[in-house]
Symmetry: C2
Subunit: 222 residues, 2 copies
């Protein structure tokens, strides 16, 4: 069985979980505490990040962006990038937007400060980081709302990897109750559509160390 | 004529300049001072980063990773990722390694602190960042050397995007005289092979604000 090494709140692992489910590719999840730097894991992925995918053939594919490009080429029955060049450019542009810009400006400031930093006993959350994270999240929600008002899905007419990249970041933040959905009704409506996809079910059923997310997290009509 | 918006020391713009030259795709370079946030440029690339490529057809392709995937699909006469899945995974893994890990651990600490920060009058270089940058650079040179000793090119038997991603980061640092090549003779030998490629010529001829790089920068036998 295909194996995906992950951490439950990693937005990059969530992106790949969503994409594998959307593509109906079964996989087994394995928790990888990357901070322990297990030698066996370092051999699979020298950067020691999650996720890493291991195929039945033994092929090891580290890094969420590398995995998503690999899946697009290895399972061409479904494309999540688009059928023509302008669509593929726009999907990939937005994937980078959410993987890099949204992550650096929002997710790292909130999720890292409020969960990982405390779990690893690296100190209390920094007030400045939290303030920046919430302010940036508002701007990003407005941008997502703007895209959702002008297009059927974030990158255009078709559902794409951009939707999963954005939803993955937001679902991690939503799990810790950090998303004020009232900022943008259009973004909320788009996210409700994402949550109601079958591919989202497993992510919505997540419990972490027995901890449940806020009630609206798994509510399709939040 | 195809246009590439760039900054001369941006390792990401350099990666695309090298790849376009390797693919023999002619282009015109245009300087984009991203910190000025020109409205016309924000329309091309809302993330306001360099590089951005504009094709003759008018197609706008922002972001070096998006551009390199686009070129691979739009000009399939040459592949810089490899012909089979394991090669493509390994090329992309290393591209991410240099674009993200090498950049965050080395280039940002040295190049940002020593050039951009001063140019934008954001203060003097931080001693801690410089120390970390030089220490990390040594480890990265040893890793490049290890790869070059075990393989013909960094990702395997064939020259790939991984070589250009690594060479682009290093050429920016070499321009400001920050690379101690004595750390790894194997890395130095690999970089000498990269420098002697015709695709490297324009990058080696760079002058920035009339400033010349150290003499060994353009020397093929340094």
């Amino acid at each position: 069985m295909r194996v995906l090494y992950h951490l439950p709140l990693s937005p990059f692992a969530r992106k790949v979980r969503l994409v594998l489910a959307e593509r109906r590719l079964p996989f087994e999840l394995r928790l990888e505490k990357v901070w322990e730097r297990r030698p066996e894991y370092l051999e699979l992925n020298p950067a020691c990040t999650v996720p890493t995918l291991v195929e039945d053939s033994g092929l090891v594919v580290p890094d969420s962006a590398v995995i998503c490009e690999y899946l697009e080429e290895a399972y061409p029955d479904m494309t999540l990038l688009g059928l023509n060049m302008p669509e593929r450019v726009e999907s990939r542009r937005l994937v980078k937007w959410f993987d890099e810009k949204f992550f650096a400006e929002v997710t790292r400031n909130l999720l890292w400060e409020k969960t990982m930093k405390q779990a690893l006993r690296l100190g209390a959350p920094e007030a400045g980081a939290l303030r920046a994270g919430y302010a940036n999240l508002k701007q990003h929600l407005l941008y997502i709302g703007w895209l959702a008002e002008h297009r059927r899905w974030l990158a255009g007419e078709n559902l794409s990897l951009a939707d999963f990249a954005a939803a993955a970041q937001l679902s991690s933040l939503d799990f810790i109750g950090d998303v004020d959905w009232s900022v943008s009704p259009a973004a909320k409506d788009w996210y409700a559509r994402m949550k109601s996809r079958p591919a989202f079910r497993a992510v919505l059923a997540d419990r972490i160390n027995g901890q449940a997310p806020p009630p609206h997290y798994a509510d399709l009509d939040f």
